[in-house]
Amino acid sequence: MDNIEHNTDAIRPHSLINSIELSELLPEPIIEIDISGRIIYMNKRGREKFEINDIELNHGIDVFSLVNFDDKEKCRSCFDDIKNNPQIHKLICTLINKSGDTFHVVFNLTPIYDENKKIIEFVGFIQDITDLTKVEEELKSLNKDLENRIREKTIQMEFAMTELKTEVSIRKRMSQKLQSAKEEISKAFQKELDLSEMKSRFISMITHEFRTPLTIIISSANMLERFYKNGNEGKFFKHLEKIKISSKNLSNLIERTITIGQSEAGVVKVKPEMFDIIDFFKEMMKEIEIFDKKKHRVSFHSEIDILNVVTDRSLLTTIFNNIISNALKYTDENKSIKIEVINEIEFVKIELSDEGIGIPEDEIKELFKPFQRCSNVGTRQGSGLGLSIVNKFLEFINGDIQINSHINIGTKVIIRIAKKLV
């Protein structure tokens, strides 16, 4: 800036462009304006470009008359700024000529000072940046376009991604559903298989178990007449007794078969009533003694004297008849069987320990299925229905059963039943 000031001082006073011919030849427009904005001089290129004739120029044309209407206000204030602070010497605006051509231009103005260092006028180039602006604008629009397209693509991708995620989660859910459906079908199939297996085992057991008492009844009955006729009173009464016992066995077997059938079909009615369970067991002990003819040492123990419960008495009787008769059946004579009642918060726990033949550990679970008997029962009679009935009935009265057993040492059956059945 200092340099320019210095040079301009040297080229003064009147027209600062001494070599008019030179400036007339320059390919860029050159302008000289006073501080009010009146054009003092414009070279040939400028006059041609902005279509100003010599007459107009001599009359003193205002530089702002060339400025596009929209830019005029901005341009004037900008020119005022330059006058106050010549360091800002650039003025950007749009010019328009008589033909209506618009040019985006930059005025590069250099102030000219008088002896009092006061600005008297400006000289400078008018640089046409229309093409540059156009390119810039094109670039900008290209950029914007690109940005838009990227944004659009991003949105599309995000959308696709969301769709994909949804699809994945749908498929996942479908596959889970499919899996659970598969499992259900397989479960249903297994249940059907189990049922059919149970039925066929049922039939085969019926044919076997029912045949034995029937064989005795028929053969004894067939012989009765003969023993009566030949006067063998001993044999006559022996076979009469056998018919009675076998009939009872057969009747029990039928009873149990019906019971298991009913509980499987869900027709068992639960009738809760309040009674003292200690008294219930004491009564049961008396019956056992008569039935067992004191072959075993059966003992009963309870910490409390009275314990009222609300449950189905008849189901409870069936449960313990089965459990106790098992203990008697599979325990040798003179060995002990202990029954203990323990009072818990919501349950009554009944522990029955015997010194019997025991149950092989891997067979315990199987025993709850109908007609399932242990491999070590030997010739001891049984339908294989007892524990199956017990298990079913315990379900009805909110109870459960646990069996711990050691071969040839004994079995402990732990039964818990709800004190209050609602």
Binding site: S204, T207, H208, R211, T212, L214, T215, I216, I217, I218, S219, S220, N222, M223, R226, F227, K235, H239, K242, S246, G378, T379
Partner: protein, 121 residues
């Protein structure tokens, strides 16, 4: 008097069969399992054997296999008397050399007739 060996693990059934044999004037010999049955057959050489299938120690099929392949017992008629009534068991017993197959429950006369027929042959 003809000797009849009865092999049956069900005590009450065994007792009835023995009584039945006595009523027909046969001499019954009782065995409560297959193993005892085989031994008694070899020792006593009965005229006929009545044998159950499901028994401890040695079942009816094993009794048949042993006795039908043992020189002194091979010709003794064996009547299988069992609660097993399915075809496979009957076929298996016949293959093992059973002479007759009767299912429980049976009528006394049906068994006696079969025994008498076998003893005649």
């Amino acid at each position: 008097m003809k000797k009849i060996l009865v092999i049956e693990d069900e005590k009450d059934v065994l007792e009835n069969l023995c009584d039945m044999m006595e009523l027909e004037n046969f001499i019954p010999i009782a065995a409560t399992n297959g193993l005892d049955g085989i031994q008694l057959a070899k020792d006593e050489l009965p005229d006929l054997i009545i044998c159950d299938i499901a028994m401890p120690y040695a079942d009816g099929f094993e009794v048949l296999n042993v006795l039908k392949n043992y020189p002194t017992t091979t010709n003794i008629p064996i009547i299988i008397l069992t609660a097993k009534s399915n075809k496979e068991d009957i076929d298996k017993a016949m293959k093992c050399g059973a002479d007759n197959y009767i299912t429980k429950p049976f009528l006394n006369q049906q068994l006696i007739d079969t025994i008498n027929l076998r003893l005649l042959q």
